[in-house]
Symmetry: C2
Subunit: 181 residues, 2 copies
């Protein structure tokens, strides 16, 4: 068993076995989000991990992704672009799709949220297989923006999500190398 790499934040993360399917270990971050100091520490660690990157805005996907996306954006005083499920945004949108276990899903953002040339930091709470993050990168590039990097609170290293994000700088602050952790 390999320990998560940094911080003592993992004591606020609860592993729920066999959720949502048998054999899957779900990382429940709600205890971390509910703890003010832990949430601060995690956000500050995420901000430090990306401080060498140059970006104009943060992009996060609904719903849980909005939590660390907002916290990071607030911390670094940059704007947050919302990537939403289809038909949630009221004005003209751009979109990118990604594969699920069965079928596909789509993320949308307002077309004017990522002006051409905007440098975007993609942020999410968890890197698993990388499909959602990859779709967010495509969303940025479809809009004419550039991906400054992709940041995660947690990385499930054993799922090799970084392979799907090859070519992008990927950072995470808590890494699980073993599915039994």
């Amino acid at each position: 068993m390999t320990k998560p790499t940094v911080h003592n934040l993992e004591r606020h993360i609860r592993t729920v076995p066999d959720y949502p399917h048998p054999g899957i270990s779900f990382k429940d971050i709600t205890p971390l989000i509910e703890d003010g100091p832990a949430m601060h520490e995690a956000t500050d660690a995420l901000a430090r991990a990306v401080e060498h990157l140059e970006y104009d805005r943060v992009l996060s996907a609904e719903a849980r992704g909005f939590v660390f996306g907002t916290a990071l954006a607030y911390k670094v005083k940059k704007g947050l672009v919302l990537a939403r499920k289809p038909n949630k945004l009221p004005r003209e949108t751009i979109s990118a799709s990604y594969e699920l276990e069965y079928g596909t899903d789509t993320l949308e953002a307002h077309a004017d949220s990522i002006p051409p040339g905007t440098r975007i930091l993609v942020a999410d709470d968890l890197l698993a297989t990388g499909g959602t993050a990859r779709a967010m990168c495509e969303l940025v590039e479809n809009a004419g923006g550039t991906v400054a990097g992709v940041a995660f609170l947690i990385e499930l290293g054993y799922l090799d999500g970084r392979e799907k994000l090859a070519g992008y700088e990927v950072v995470s602050i808590i890494n699980y190398d073993d599915p039994s952790e």
Copy 2:
């Protein structure tokens, strides 16, 4: 036409007519969220508006509600409890339902997120008819917690959402009194 009550934040809020239905003026806050300084100003104003209240945690509902819930929780260094749509949380939940135009919807939180006696500040981006906020208050009380207050970034005063929240202290920082605004 009555102007919003405080701040100059409303210039970052875009009114989208006839969305999602004819006759409805939708308040699109994505331009505000995308603007780092404006987002900071809005969060700080919300924090000031609730600084007389005593609360242990903030409660917000997915998905857009997570944005200001997180920003406020981060600002005041308190934890955030997530109220989610059904079957999104991995452990034992409590729930509360509310009426929609057609049918009902339900919000869930982890049962251990609101220990008995916990003082909760309910926070959302928008007070319209008050159904979602009312359900969040019921969620708190079902868990044995108390509602310290209910805070909104925007209040559509002409929809009388405060009536549904009678008995709770309600604060908002941007008020629209006229549906044509």
